[in-house]
């Protein structure tokens, strides 16, 4: 009998989904940590509501999802589908053509530039390449938002910087006076997380937090993000290609398809249990 490529691909996807399910089962303790805690009916902290955005070509079309208090929403999808753009909309670095983005129930799309700066102080952002300021030391990088937006004195700032560095498993005495160029990729990411959380933000945003890292460092960063959620109960939105990390840390997953729409929004378990062909192809490709 001739080998049927369609059937072979379907078999591969089934085995991939089974492997992912096994991993989810193994990661059960971590998943326990990511569940939102507190009130019985948590409020929506981040809401993206029927958002449309186009430059020369469409970037996002009718995109809607929400992240409840303490929840972690992961946005996954192929390259160029507009995942990072959603983070820029939440930060109000971009304004949608249509639709609303609400933070704590407040529509931020109509804010002025100065009002948007105030809203951004509620958020911490971890960039793909960490985006640490080259001209500043690690200490100055983490202290920057504290100097800009708080009345803390030098001793309080140093204590906060030390606390955040210890939180991300870095030795303050060793790294505080180093410049970003002297750090490894994983250390830069950890300093980026420390800077993002310096102000104790209500919301954390991560753009590809594990890209370009080796498997061990990826596991470390994933564990740090989980620790941040568990200990500080922040609401998080994560953009990532790393499906395994996403399934470990996310309460909900939003899948952006090539038509720039969200084709799936639900729990990781619902995603792996889906019979949708695009989802299965995506999971198969992402885990290959």
């Amino acid at each position: 009998m001739a080998d049927d490529p369609t059937r072979r691909s379907s078999d591969q996807n089934r085995s991939v989904r089974a492997a992912i399910r096994r991993e989810i089962a193994v990661d059960a303790p971590a998943r326990e940590e990511r569940q939102p805690r507190g009130a019985a009916a948590p409020r929506a902290v981040v809401e993206v509501d029927h958002v449309w955005l186009a430059f020369d070509t469409p970037v996002l079309e009718d995109v809607s999802f929400q992240a409840l208090d303490g929840e972690t929403v992961a946005i996954v999808g192929e390259s160029g589908t507009g995942k990072s753009t959603i983070l820029k909309l939440i930060l109000r670095l971009l304004v949608p053509d249509r639709g609303q983005v609400r933070i704590d129930g407040e529509d931020i799309t109509s804010l002025t530039f100065d009002e948007a700066l105030l809203v951004r102080q509620k958020m911490g952002m971890v960039f793909q390449g960490a985006a640490l300021f080259d001209s500043m030391t690690v200490f100055e990088n983490i202290a920057y938002p504290l100097r800009e937006h708080t009345q803390m004195d030098d001793d309080e700032i140093e204590a906060r910087v030390r606390e955040k560095l210890q939180f991300v498993d870095l030795d303050p005495d060793q790294v505080m006076e180093q410049f970003p160029a002297e750090l490894s990729g994983g250390m830069r990411k950890r300093v980026g997380i420390a800077r993002g959380m310096a102000n104790n933000p209500e919301i954390m945003l991560y753009d590809e937090p594990t890209s370009g890292l080796d498997p061990l460092t990826t596991a470390t960063i994933t564990r740090l993000i989980l620790k941040l959620q568990h200990e500080l109960n922040v609401t998080s939105v994560v953009v990532s290609h790393d499906i395994r990390s996403v399934f470990r840390m996310a309460s909900k997953v939003a899948l952006l398809a090539t038509d720039h729409r969200i084709t799936f929004f639900g729990t990781p378990e619902e995603m792996t249990g889906s019979d949708d062909r695009y989802i299965n192809d995506f999971l198969g490709g992402a885990s290959a």
Binding site: L118, F133, E148
Partner: protein, 272 residues
């Protein structure tokens, strides 16, 4: 034909938009000089970067320009037996034109390219976005200190350039042409006095020579910040931003110099 018109229309709109963005950036950066928070430490750092670190090339440019000016003019003046007027020629040329323009061109090359490369790298490595997300206006933090520092330091560099250029002329006048130093400096002062005064005490040459670097400082810093902040396309984009900055700032200096000269010559009363 309609296709051509559409393209021309698009190109014209794009140019107008560029100009609008340039002037919006210029307006904001100047307005933020008077708005809190003040980044005094950044301003001092930029003054060091723009002023102190440019001193070397400005001194070299000034002294050799003054020397070659004296050398060339001595050849012509000798045919009329008027070599004692070398000081007039060197001082007028240096203070009115060569001092400000050469200092401007040197700073455009050294500092303009540096600013564009630094801000361009910050743009492509998302550091500008990081500033925004940390609740800081990048124009206030990055552009205003550079513009303010350039506005202060370029006139200072020009004064030094003028002075060192006149000293360069003195060296040639004394050691090559044989004009005594006292005679040289007397003719330098005679020239400055002969060109008249503004508000009775400020020599017209100084007004002309110091109003230009002030404008050049703004042009260089705003052009560099504009191209730096607008960088796209990774490291290649940084290179392009740097080149555009040096070319645009240099051309703008030469064009604006002509118009300032024209304006000041019609406003200032020379020779009275």
């Amino acid at each position: 034909m309609p296709e051509l018109l559409i393209r021309l229309n698009d190109a014209a709109k794009s140019r107008v938009l560029t100009l609008q963005e340039y002037f919006v950036l210029a307006g904001k950066s100047l307005r933020f000089i008077f708005a809190r928070p003040f980044y005094a430490q950044d301003v001092v750092q930029q003054m060091d970067e723009i002023g102190v670190k440019s001193l070397g090339i400005v001194l070299l440019t000034g002294v050799f320009t003054g020397m070659v000016l004296a050398l060339q003019s001595s050849v012509q003046l000798k045919t009329f037996g008027a070599t004692m007027y070398i000081g007039n020629l060197v001082s007028a040329s240096m203070i009115r034109e060569l001092g400000p323009v050469l200092a401007g061109l040197m700073v455009a090359g050294r500092v303009g390219s540096g600013i564009a490369a630094q801000l361009g790298s910050m743009r492509v490595t998302e550091q500008i976005d990081a500033l925004n997300t940390l609740g800081t206006d990048p124009i206030k933090k990055l552009v205003t200190p550079r513009v303010l520092a350039a506005l202060v330091m370029l006139p200072v560099l020009t004064i030094i350039n003028d002075f060192i250029g006149i000293i360069g002329g003195n060296i040639i006048a004394s050691f090559v042409v044989g004009v005594p130093t006292t005679q040289y400096w007397r003719t330098v002062w005679n020239q400055i006095a002969a060109d008249g005064f503004t508000l009775r005490y400020i020599p017209n040459d100084f007004v002309q020579g110091l109003s230009k670097p002030f404008v050049f400082g703004a042009l260089i810093s705003i052009t560099a910040c504009y191209f730096g902040l607008g960088t796209t396309g990774g490291t290649e984009g940084v290179g392009q931003a740097t080149t555009r900055t040096v070319v645009t700032a240099s051309i703008l200096i030469l064009i604006v110099d002509y118009f300032i000269t024209q304006l000041l010559l019609s406003v200032l009363t020379y020779g009275r």
